[in-house]
C-alpha cells in the first residue's frame, strides 16, 4: 500500500514537471501581456490542481491495472506458439493466421478510445458549441469506430508487410473526397478528432501490440515495421466522424421527405 502511495506521489511530481511549461506560458502572458486579473483565479487554480491530481491517479491506475495485462496480452497473442500451436514454425506468413490479433486490435482500439480523456474534453466542448446537436457519446463512438478500424488495418499492414504510405495516401484521398460532401459544420471537428484520439490510454497499448507483432513475424524489424499504428489511428477517425455526420444528415433528409410525402 505504501508503495502505491509513493508511486502516486512520484507520478504527481512528474505530471507537475510536464505541466509546468504550460502554466508558465499561460500565467506569463496573463501577467506580462494581458495585465488584467484572471476572473475567478482561485477557482482556476483549484481546477488546475484537480487536473494534475486526476491525471496522476489516472496514470498510476493504468500502470497498476491495465497496462501490464494489456501489454502481456499483446505479446502472448502475437507469439508463434499461440498462432501456429506450440513448437511449430511457419515458413510463410499467412495473414489469415492472425485473426485473433486483428480482433484484439479492433477491440482494444475501440475500448481505449472510449476511455481517452482528451477525446472526452473535445466532445464536451463540441456538444456545448453545437448547442447539443453533436452528442457527446455519438461523437466518441464515431471516433472509436475509426480508431478500431485504423488499428485493425494497421496490424494487417504489419503482418502483410505492405508499405505504410500507400494506406495513408489512400486515406488522404478519401478524406479529401468526403470533405466536399460532408456537412460544413462537422469538417473542422472531424479533422481535429484525428489528433485527439491517441494519447494517454491508446498509445502505450497500441505500441506494445505493434512492437510485439513486428518482432515475432519473420522478416519484419521492430524498429522499422513497429511504427505506423498511431498514424492509422489518427487518420481513420477523420473518415468515420465525417461519415457519421453524412449518415445523420442523410437520415434526416429521408425523414423530412417521408413527412412531406406522407
Amino acid at each position: 500500500m505504501s508503495e502505491l502511495l509513493l508511486h502516486l506521489f512520484y507520478v504527481t511530481l512528474d505530471t507537475i514537471t510536464d505541466v509546468f511549461p504550460i502554466v508558465a506560458i499561460i500565467f506569463g502572458f496573463q501577467f506580462l501581456v494581458i495585465r488584467k486579473p484572471v476572473p475567478n483565479l482561485r477557482k482556476v487554480i483549484i481546477g488546475f490542481i484537480y487536473v494534475l491530481v486526476g491525471l496522476a491517479f489516472f496514470l498510476v491506475g493504468l500502470e497498476e491495472a491495465l497496462f501490464p495485462l494489456g501489454e502481456l496480452m499483446a505479446q502472448q497473442l502475437t507469439e508463434p506458439d499461440f498462432i501456429y500451436g506450440i513448437g511449430k514454425v511457419a515458413d510463410v506468413v499467412q495473414w489469415q493466421d492472425y485473426k485473433w490479433v486483428y480482433l484484439f486490435a479492433i477491440a482494444i482500439g475501440f475500448s481505449t478510445t472510449i476511455a481517452e480523456p482528451s477525446l472526452l474534453a473535445v466532445a464536451i466542448k463540441a456538444n456545448e458549441v453545437s448547442a447539443g446537436v453533436i452528442g457527446i457519446n455519438g461523437l466518441r463512438i464515431a471516433v472509436a469506430i475509426g480508431v478500431a478500424v485504423g488499428i485493425g488495418l494497421g496490424t494487417l499492414r504489419i503482418v502483410t508487410g505492405t508499405p505504410l504510405e500507400y494506406y495513408i495516401i489512400a486515406g488522404y484521398i478519401i478524406v479529401i473526397i468526403q470533405t466536399f460532401y460532408a456537412p460544413k459544420m462537422i469538417i473542422a471537428l472531424a479533422y481535429d478528432s484525428g489528433g485527439v484520439t491517441t494519447s494517454t490510454v491508446t498509445v502505450p497499448l497500441v505500441t506494445a501490440l505493434g512492437l510485439g507483432l513486428a518482432t515475432t513475424i519473420p522478416g519484419r524489424s521492430a524498429v522499422l515495421d513497429g511504427f505506423g499504428l498511431i498514424a492509422f489511428a489518427s487518420l481513420c477517425p477523420i473518415i468515420s466522424v465525417m461519415a457519421y455526420a453524412q449518415l445523420s444528415e442523410w437520415r434526416n433528409r429521408n425523414k423530412n421527405k417521408e413527412q412531406l410525402e406522407g
Binding site: D18, I22, F29, V38, I45, V51, A115, S118, D192, V203
Partner: protein
C-alpha cells in the same frame, strides 16, 4: 448533502462506464482466447478504482480550470487587438507544450535508434542524443507554427480544408523524397504531439477566439487547431530526416 453525494456517485458511475469496455475486452481475451486466469485481481481492482477517480477529477478540473482560462485568454487577446502578441502566445503554447511532451521524448529516442541502425548517424550515445533533441526541437517548432497558422486562419476566416489539403500534399511530396526509415516515425509523430492537457486548452482557445471575433462561427472556425498540430510534425520530421 444527500444531493451532493448522489451527484458524486453519478459522475463516478459515468467514468466507470467509460472504462468498462477496456476491462471487458481484456477479460474476454484473457479468459476465452488465451485461456489463462486473470492475475492479481486485487491490484487490478485498486488500479481500476484509481483510474475512475482520476478521470473524474480530470473532468472536474477541465470545467473549472482549463476551459475557462483558455477561453478567457482568447477573449482578452481579442479585446486587446494585438495580433503580434496573440501570435507570440500561440507559438509559445504550441512550442512549450510539445517540447516537454513525454510521448514525443519516447518517439525521438526511438527515431535516433532507427537512424543509428540505418547508418545515418554514428551509433554512439552522444550522436543519438543530439539527433533525438534536434528532432524534438523540430517537432516543437512545427507545432508552434501550426498553432500560429491555425489562429491566423480563425482571424482571417480561411476555410480549413484548403489548408489541410495543402498539408496533405506536403506530406505526400515529402514521402517520396524522405529516407525510408523515417517515414513510419514521421507519420506516427503527428498523433503523439497533442497531449491530454494541450488538447482542452487549445480547443478552448480556438472556440473562444471564434466566438469573440465578429463574423466567425465557433463550430465552423473554432475547431481545427489540433488538426494543424497533428499535420505539421509529419512534414517537419521527414524534412529533418532528409537534412541529416
Amino acid at each position: 448533502m444527500k444531493q451532493h453525494v448522489n451527484q458524486i456517485f453519478r459522475s463516478l458511475w459515468n467514468s466507470a462506464r467509460d472504462l468498462l469496455p477496456v476491462i471487458l475486452v481484456i477479460a474476454f481475451f484473457q479468459i476465452f482466447v488465451l485461456q489463462k486466469p486473470i492475475p492479481n485481481m486485487g491490484q487490478l481492482f485498486v488500479g481500476t478504482l484509481l483510474v475512475v477517480i482520476g478521470l473524474n477529477l480530470f473532468i472536474k478540473g477541465l470545467e473549472t480550470g482549463l476551459f475557462p482560462i483558455g477561453e478567457n485568454m482568447a477573449y482578452a487577446f481579442a479585446r486587446k487587438g494585438s495580433v503580434f502578441w496573440l501570435m507570440a502566445f500561440a507559438f509559445s503554447l504550441g512550442f512549450g507544450t510539445t517540447i516537454a511532451e513525454p510521448a514525443l521524448i519516447a518517439v525521438a529516442d526511438k527515431a535516433a535508434e532507427v537512424a543509428a541502425i540505418g547508418g545515418v548517424i554514428e551509433n554512439t550515445e552522444p550522436a543519438r542524443s543530439s539527433y533525438a533533441s534536434g528532432l524534438r526541437l523540430t517537432v516543437a517548432f512545427s507545432v508552434g507554427l501550426a498553432i500560429v497558422v491555425g489562429v491566423l486562419r480563425i482571424l482571417k476566416g480561411w476555410p480549413i480544408h484548403y489548408l489541410i489539403i495543402a498539408g496533405y500534399a506536403g506530406v505526400v511530396v515529402m514521402t517520396f523524397f524522405a529516407p525510408k526509415e523515417i517515414i513510419g516515425i514521421a507519420y506516427d509523430s503527428g498523433g503523439v504531439t497533442t497531449s491530454t492537457i494541450t488538447v482542452p486548452l487549445v480547443t478552448a482557445l480556438g472556440v473562444g477566439l471564434a466566438s469573440s471575433i465578429k463574423g466567425r462561427n465557433p463550430m465552423l472556425d473554432g475547431f481545427g487547431l489540433i488538426a494543424f498540430a497533428s499535420l505539421t510534425p509529419i512534414i517537419f520530421v521527414m524534412g529533418y530526416g532528409m537534412l541529416i
